[in-house]
């Protein structure tokens, strides 16, 4: 991975009513795996949504040196009332793949997340962990250059959480850039190459993961690490 930024964020602001949710954020993202940390309500999810294009900033800009194909996985997987396989196919068909091609890619993606045996099961009847793996397969099948994950394992049991982490690492190993948030500091240190710490809508710190967990540069980050028990 080159160290050149794949995304430059310049003076990003998001104001809703009286609330300054994202406050003048400027950031160069160059690492292959970036984890955004911060307390609840700090603006982590909002920042990811702005980058993904689900929200539009009040001011500021995202500069992509080269437009990257993206996919996003949410905290709560949204499953359509159809089979797991059909959920993965749905995303592929929206991207313009033919029916035959979509089915083949969808089956491969489900196999990669270890769910080929559940392909024909109604997606909404799967367990929370299985649904999140279907969501990961749906994102992975699109072979995005940038995968954004918003607390992908926050509502899962430890075993499912580990499985999700394994899949994220596989997706990264296959070449995708990872940009994610998590409340699980252990997960952040295992996945993240670089940590972006956000506090009340402002970027407070951007450091390589190793040094962040050993000695955060800012007081706010030190307090945050003390308050959250690492898993």
């Amino acid at each position: 991975m080159s160290t050149e930024a794949w995304l430059a964020i310049e003076g990003l602001n998001l104001i809703e009513g009286q609330t300054h949710i994202i406050n003048d954020v400027s950031l160069q993202l160059a690492a292959q795996r970036t984890v955004v940390l911060g307390a609840n309500g700090a603006g982590k999810s909002t920042l990811l949504r702005l980058i993904h294009g689900l929200l539009h900033p009040t001011a500021g800009a995202l500069r992509w040196p080269r437009a990257l194909t993206q996919a996003m996985v949410f905290q709560r997987p949204v499953m359509l009332r159809r089979t797991a396989l059909a959920n993965v196919i749905y995303g592929l068909e929206l991207k313009g793949y033919t029916a035959a091609e979509s089915e083949q890619r969808a089956r491969q993606a489900l196999a990669r997340v270890g769910l080929e045996s559940l392909a024909k099961r109604p997606a909404r009847l799967l367990s929370g962990g299985e649904q999140q793996r279907v969501a990961l397969a749906r994102a992975w099948a699109l072979e995005p250059e940038l995968l954004i994950l918003d607390e992908p394992s926050a509502s899962l049991d430890p075993a499912s959480s580990r499985e999700v982490e394994r899949i994220i690492k596989d997706i990264a190993a296959a070449g995708a850039r990872i940009l994610m948030t998590t409340h699980n500091l252990g997960q952040a240190s295992r996945i993240g190459e670089e940590i972006v710490f956000i506090d009340r809508g402002r970027i407070v710190e951007q450091t390589p993961a190793g040094s962040f967990f050993n000695l955060p540069q800012t007081e706010a980050a030190q307090r945050f690490l003390k308050e959250v028990t690492p898993l």
Partner: protein, 234 residues
């Protein structure tokens, strides 16, 4: 038919004996109201979905309008369709007045806002849950609307059912545009109204019982279907 024999007994004999006249009336009722509901679903569900996910000027006005039109008085709809279809009206040359087709048109107009407004509610709830995911996958609003219509197919059956319940139970519109002609445009509700005013209670009562049984059993089937769908698809 006897005036002061036991009307309940006579009513039961009519039903049990599958009286031909009675059967004709019931079948015509079903044909008219099912056709009207079908048309209302074809129009109302897509309209409801677009009102739920669309972003266009006048959307809020249309939502209020459709919600308001849910309470459209059947006699007013009957009158409007009558004016449209009467010999001097804009569609007069089609000669549809006092035909089952006219009744279907009137009931479809009556029921479409109900189906549209209820569908909009169902789709809007689903949209709140799905919108980020669908937009993330690159679905435009039109594609999202069709996806949600399919995904909400079991909940939408409630909207169709409410429309059918309204259609099969209304008198005013079909009375005006159908004319309650014996053997041609006489349906359950218009027959009940007429026979009661004539004093022939057994036929009115028999039809009343059938009407209620029909509405209840359709609701029961729909309820069972939704339960099954919930277990099957979540």
């Amino acid at each position: 038919m006897g005036d002061h024999h036991d009307p309940f007994l006579t009513a039961w004999q009519l039903v049990a004996g599958a009286d031909a006249r009675l059967a004709g009336i019931v079948l015509l009722s079903l044909r008219v109201s099912l056709s009207a509901t079908l048309i209302a679903c074809f129009v109302g569900m897509p309209v409801g979905a677009l009102l739920a996910v669309g972003r266009f000027p006048g959307r809020r006005v249309l939502i209020v309008l459709f919600n308001g039109l849910m309470g459209l008085p059947p006699v007013v709809v009957g009158l409007l369709v009558y004016l449209l279809l009467s010999r001097a009206g804009p569609l007069g040359q089609w000669g549809l007045l006092f035909s089952p087709t006219a009744m279907i048109i009137a009931q479809a107009i009556l029921v479409t806002p109900i189906v549209a407004a209820l569908s909009r509610q169902v789709i809007a709830d689903a949209w709140a849950e799905y919108s980020e995911q669908l937009r993330s996958l690159g679905a435009g609003r039109l594609r999202a609307a069709t996806t949600l219509l399919w995904d909400g197919r079991f909940s939408l059956s409630t909207a169709a059912l409410a429309g059918f319940g309204r259609a099969i139970a209304e008198v005013g519109a079909v009375m005006i545009v159908g004319g309650n002609i014996d053997g041609v445009t006489r349906v359950m509700t218009t027959t009940i109204a007429l026979e009661t005013s004539k004093g022939d209670l057994p036929l009115a009562l028999a039809l009343g019982v059938i009407l209620i049984t029909l509405v209840l059993s359709i609701n029961a089937v729909a309820y069972a279907l939704r339960g099954w769908a919930q277990r099957r698809w979540g």
